[in-house]
């Protein structure tokens, strides 16, 4: 989209690989390869030193994940007996996965289903509320509009844990603790989501379009669903993904709200396995913790990778204005 003069020039100057193909690929002397396009300040030559330096950060972020993958192929003995950075003698990944899923009457599967439920209800609901609210803040003049925005942004600074104790006591007196509601209801609010949708809607939905729809006699709801919502899609996907991560990864809220392991999400379950391994007489299940950790992150990573085009464009549009 950001076609600029220099970019166009560079493309025009590129005579396309039509002429005598002198590709040095395979000749072992890539230095002789003709330059494809002139390097301008806007189209600079890739730099090997810069790539290597940035590669250090890449190594830092990927190495622990590689460690996790490698070590989920080992059994307990292999974990203790072999180097953490290379595979052990036996490849136990599939065995580990089936043991993780089966351990303790399949409680891991139960936690996975719980997590899916919390994500569907919590993140789904949070996205709906944020889209409706952000759209309203951006496109309608109503008394209290500024106050809503100020209070919500101010609330971001309130530590989640400052709210945790009173929320727990409130929910407890309402009989909601130790039920899924105690996790789902607080997950429904995403101040970041509201902010992003507000900024996004202000940019993405032209007021003239809404006006035209009204003149044509379209009701407000119909206008929202038929005209605004499709335009809001990139922002919506972004908010949905970030709320999904927040709910999928949530630990603190379920930790205080849920006592019954049957309602644990994956994060709480994994930490319970870890705690069990540390107590005297408790069964140490490090291999299952490691494999369970891998199983916990794979779905969310896959979703991020699959939808990256959408959420990245939404995020970029959201940062147009501060």
């Amino acid at each position: 989209m950001t076609t600029n003069l220099a970019g166009v020039d560079a493309n025009a100057a590129d005579p396309a690989p039509a002429g005598p193909t002198r590709t040095s690929r395979g000749s072992g002397r890539p230095a002789l390869r003709p330059r494809r396009r002139p390097h301008t300040p806007l189209n600079p030559r890739p730099s090997i030193p810069l790539t290597l330096v940035t590669g250090l950060v890449l190594l830092y972020t990927l190495l622990p994940l590689a460690w996790l993958v490698i070590n989920s192929t080992k059994d307990q003995k292999g974990l203790l007996g072999s180097s953490g950075l290379w595979f052990g003698e036996d490849f136990n990944l599939w065995d580990n996965i089936s043991r993780t899923l089966a351990y303790d009457d399949g409680v891991f599967v139960r936690w996975l289903l719980n997590t899916l439920m919390y994500v569907a209800a919590g993140a789904g609901g949070a996205t709906i509320l944020a889209v409706l609210g952000g759209y309203a803040l951006a496109k309608y003049q109503f008394p209290g509009r500024r106050a809503v925005f100020a209070v919500v942004i101010g609330a971001v600074a309130v530590p989640g844990t400052a709210l945790a104790v009173p929320t727990f006591l409130m929910f407890s007196s309402m009989g909601l603790t130790n039920t899924p509601w105690a996790v789902i209801i607080p997950s429904l609010i995403s101040p970041f989501g509201l902010y992003l949708m507000w900024v996004f809607a202000a940019e993405a939905v032209p007021a003239e379009l809404l006006e035209a729809a009204r003149v044509d006699g379209s009701g407000e709801l119909r206008t929202f669903f038929r005209i605004a919502l499709p335009l809001l899609m990139p922002g919506t996907v972004t908010v949905l993904l970030f709320s999904m991560v927040a709910t999928w990864n949530n630990y603190f809220l379920p930790l205080i709200m849920i006592k019954d392991p049957d309602w644990y999400p994956l994060t709480l379950g994994l930490s319970a396995w870890n705690a069990q391994a540390q107590t005297a007489g408790g069964e140490a299940v490090f291999d299952l913790i490691i494999t369970g950790s891998l199983l916990t992150i794979v779905p969310i990573v896959v979703i991020f990778l699959l939808l990256q085009r959408y959420w990245q464009s939404g995020l970029a549009a959201g940062s147009v204005k501060e």
């Binding site: 972020t61 109503f142 530590p159 709210l163 727990f168 990573v301 991020f304 959201g318 940062s319 501060e322």
Partner: protein, 308 residues
């Protein structure tokens, strides 16, 4: 539908129409924002109010629950356990946040410069840890730190050295800082990169024509252009540091001697209320923490926006 009268005939006079339109706008606006506001009131405002209320009372062995005015606040302000925790997260903030944001900014600038081979791969891979739950990140790093079957242990065995134990009391704060950095470098990088991406390219061109080198373009064009993103990332990092809970709470199981139950203010609040049953005092500590966080976040914003 096609038989609609023309607007001029059908609608009331302009002024009435305008007032009617405003009222209608307000109704529809609240209709859309209402659900968010209602739930927000339930899960944000009501607990804040309830915490304020709780903080004014105290459960006593004799006399039960009674109004104590500001006693809880006075206790909190002179509570060494609270202040030690606060000093710890303050130190954490002063060291970890600049390192994390610095790395994130450098990577964002590197990717944005267009001088990297495989920049899309860099972008998505470095962002990846953000999708990893804090629990998994802490367990994973906790094991890696381990001197038994972790990487540190491997290195010790392989080279016959004795690296200091990352989970020892002296090093555990730095080890937590490493986990938090690992988790959030990519997220902040993406915020900065997204902001950089919408800077008009013509600015770079103009700067280049004026003879500005790459470094000058960064300091004179790019950084000022993403000032807002820098401030927001700083504020969120400050808030995050003061809220530090998940990582120390998980690592506590692996290093019970290094991480006490009052290691951070949030751990302290948690143990006060869920192990100690001191709900009123826990609410007070949480409020004091909230006020301190808000003050610091606000002053970061003021400073950051000053020359804007």
């Amino acid at each position: 539908m096609t038989l609609l009268p023309t607007p001029a005939q059908a609608l009331p006079p302009p002024r009435v129409r305008a007032r009617f339109r405003l009222r209608r706008q307000a109704l529809v606006g609240w209709g859309f924002a209402g659900p968010f506001v209602a739930v927000f009131g339930l899960v944000f405002l009501a607990p804040i109010g309830y915490a304020l209320y709780l903080s004014l009372f105290r459960d006593r062995l004799i006399g039960g629950n009674s109004f104590v005015g500001t006693d809880n606040y006075e206790q909190a302000l002179t509570d060494p356990q609270f202040w030690e925790g606060l000093a710890r997260v303050g130190l954490f903030l002063a060291v970890q946040v600049p390192i994390m944001l610095g790395i994130a900014l450098l990577v964002a600038l590197a990717i944005d410069s267009g001088r990297l081979y495989g920049k899309a791969f860099f972008r998505i891979s470095i962002f990846l840890p953000y999708a990893v739950p804090a629990v998994v990140a802490s367990l994973m790093w906790g094991f890696i730190y381990g001197t038994r079957f972790g990487l540190v242990g491997n290195i010790n065995d392989a080279f016959g050295v004795a690296l200091p134990d990352p989970l020892s009391p002296a090093l555990v704060l730095a080890s937590i800082g490493n986990i938090v950095t690992w988790e959030f470098v990519g997220y902040n990088m993406l915020i900065f990169y997204s902001a950089l991406k919408v800077v008009p390219r013509s600015l770079y061109e103009a700067a280049a024509i004026d003879g500005a080198g790459e470094w000058r373009v960064i300091t004179a064009v790019k950084l000022p252009a993403i000032r807002g993103a820098l401030v927001i990332a700083t504020i969120f990092s400050v808030i995050g540091s003061f809220q530090l809970f998940n990582e120390p709470s998980i690592l506590q199981k692996l290093a019970p001697n290094a991480i006490t139950s009052d290691f951070t203010p949030n751990l302290y609040t948690y143990s006060l209320s869920f192990s100690g049953q001191q709900h009123n005092y826990a609410a007070t500590v949480a409020i004091v923490m909230g006020v301190i966080t808000a003050i610091i976040a606000y002053s970061v914003q003021l400073r950051g926006m000053r020359k804007g």
